[in-house]
Symmetry: C2
Subunit: 119 residues, 2 copies
DNA sequence: ACAATAGTTGAGCAGGTATTCAACTATTGT
DNA sequence: ACAATAGTTGAATACCTGCTCAACTATTGT
């Protein structure tokens, strides 16, 4: 109990004022959880290429599979993740399912990312 | 060999024109690799909170450990990843290592992310 | 010189995840 | 009705990754 705060942590508080200010401004945990989950969708090579391709044109599963040199199954699994996080939408026309981006935020996120890595 | 292109994929090309246009515009693989790696840093709950905290104030390892209720070791491991991807910089003053964001792109990326999840 | 503390590091482990495989549904054309 | 094809799905596997633990370095104060 010699610590100023009884957290499950092996530290004394070195700059208590800083910690208190930052903690006071901190969004609730759920927002960080959601944010991490959003960026998780961009953090895989396959998914990021799918998202980029769909930012250019609407495509079906086979198109994406050919474009990326992967199986329909692998693509379909990733598209499911992207559907569940509401990053892509789809529309079935006949046998074929056409995928496209759910909204324009995805393009914005790409732009910011490319700005960072291309410098 | 009945496929129009001999990729290791179980598909026919359904919309060859679409695939060709997208492929022609596609950045080289390295860029997607780098982009995925960048977003990987934002895709973990701990790292995203560290980055957010550092976007508010410069902090040392102990401050971050207390703020997030984690061990110095866990924080230090994550800071190492963030250092290696050039998202944070650090400065040792005495015994204490002060971490801060490497550039302003990180804040921009946060903003875009929050825009998306808060709707 | 010594104790105490900030921070780093590598090994090990537990949980997570991306692809493969095989089986399945749905739709089209004959 | 049947064959062919687009797409999905769940289980299995192999890989990746985040935390813990213990040992270590570096710096400060006494």
């Amino acid at each position: 109990m010699e610590n100023k705060e009884s957290f499950s942590c092996d530290c004394d508080v070195i700059h208590e004022d800083v910690v208190n200010r930052v903690r006071a401004a901190m969004p609730e945990g759920k927002h960080f959880y959601d944010l991490a989950n959003l960026y998780k969708m961009f953090s895989d090579n396959t998914r990021v290429r799918i998202l980029w391709a769909l930012s250019r044109e609407e495509m079906c599963v086979c198109d994406l599979a050919v474009l990326l040199g992967m199986t329909k199954s692998a693509i379909s699994h990733q598209l499911k993740s992207l559907r569940l996080t509401n990053l892509v939408k789809y529309e079935k026309r006949g046998k074929i399912v056409y995928y496209s981006l759910a909204d324009s935020h995805v393009k914005d996120i790409f732009e910011k990312g490319f700005e960072h890595i291309l410098e």
